[in-house]
C-alpha cells in the first residue's frame, strides 16, 4: 500500500465533463520525507517511513531529533509507515510529493473524525429516542429505553450501546476518485468528503 501523509485543506465543488456538480475535498498531500527505509534483511519486512508537517525542535524528544537528523530533515509532526514501496528506489532523505498519485484513479483516505464530546445515544448510535412528547413521556424524548431483561440475566450485557464520548475515531473513506492534481502546490482534489476538520492530518493510500 503506497501512500502519502497529508492535510485537509477544505471542500469545494466542481463541474465535471457531464455537467454534474461534484462535491470535492482539497487535500495537501506531501511533500513527505523518507525518514527510514525498512528492509527484509534488517527489519523482517519492507516499508518506508514517511514524515510530514514540521514541528518545533523544543517540542521534540532527543530520540526523535536524532532520528530525523539521520534523514537530514527537520522534526516532523506525523510519521507513518507505508508498505508497498518494495523496490529500493527510495533512500532516507528523499522527498515524495503528490506526483506519486495519478489523475482519475481511486484512493483511500484515513483520518480522525471530529470529536463531538459526550453525546447521548440518539447522536452516538442512531437510536430513535422515544418518538413522542406526550402520552406520559415526562422528560425522556431522547432516552435509550430498556437496557435488558430483569431476573434473567440480572445484569447488563457487555457492549450495550450507551451515551459517551463520541467522534475522534479513526475513519477511512474508501475509493475516492481523484478529480485533479495540482503538483505545483502539492494539492490533491478528490470526490466526496474525508474525515476530520480542516487542517486535520490524513493518510492517503493508493
Amino acid at each position: 500500500m503506497q501512500g502519502l501523509i497529508g492535510k485537509k485543506v477544505g471542500m469545494t465543488s466542481v463541474f465535471d465533463e457531464d455537467g454534474k456538480n461534484i462535491p470535492c475535498t482539497v487535500i495537501e498531500a506531501g511533500p513527505c520525507v523518507v525518514t527510514q527505509v525498512k528492509t527484509e534483511d534488517k527489519d523482517g519486512y519492507n516499508a518506508l517511513q514517511l514524515g510530514y508537517g514540521d514541528k518545533k525542535e523544543k517540542n521534540s524528544t532527543k530520540a526523535e531529533l536524532g532520528h530525523f537528523k539521520k534523514a537530514k530533515t527537520t522534526p516532523k509532526k506525523m510519521v507513518v509507515e507505508f508498505t508497498g514501496f518494495t523496490g529500493g528506489e527510495y533512500k532516507t532523505g528523499d522527498v515524495l510529493d503528490v506526483n506519486l498519485f495519478d489523475d482519475d484513479t481511486w484512493l483511500d483516505v484515513r483520518g480522525w473524525s471530529k470529536g463531538k464530546g459526550f453525546q447521548g445515544v440518539v447522536k452516538r448510535h442512531g437510536f430513535r429516542g422515544v418518538g413522542d412528547q406526550t402520552h406520559g413521556q415526562h422528560n425522556r424524548e431522547r432516552s435509550p429505553g430498556s437496557l435488558g431483561a430483569s431476573s434473567y440475566p440480572s445484569r447488563v450485557f457487555k457492549g450495550m450501546r450507551m451515551a459517551g464520548r463520541t467522534g475522534n475515531n479513526k475513519v477511512m473513506a474508501i475509493s475516492l476518485r481523484v478529480m485533479k492534481l495540482i503538483p505545483d502546490s502539492n494539492l490533491l482534489i478528490v470526490k466526496g468528503s474525508v474525515p476530520g476538520p480542516k487542517g486535520g492530518y490524513l493518510i492517503i493510500s493508493k
Partner: protein
Amino acid sequence: MNLMNVVEKEYAVTNNFPEFKAGDTITVHYKITEGNKTRIQQFKGTVLQIKGSNHTQTFTVRKMSGSIGVERIFPIASPFIEKIDVNKRGRVRRARIFYFRERTGKSARIKERKY
C-alpha cells in the same frame, strides 16, 4: 486559506456574463438535453440574491408563473448556462431581497436604476 485560493484559480470561471445584482431582471438561457436533443430554455425573473464566491457562486432568480412564484438557483459555473441577458437594472437597498417574496401586484415593483 492560501491553498484554497490556488484551487479557486484553477477552476476560475471563464464565461463572460454581464454583471448583475439583486433586484435586476435577467434572462438566463439554459441548455436542456432531452434524449439526444438539446434546446435552450429561457428563465426570466428578478435576482433575489447572489451567494458564495468564485466558482461555487450561485444566484437565485424568481419569476411569477401565473400567480405562482417560481425560484431557480443557478450555479455561475454551470456549463449549461448559455448566456445571461440583463433586461432591467433595479434599485434596491439590500443585497438579498427576500422581502420581495411577500410582495404581489403593485408593491412587487422595483424602481429602475438609471445611470
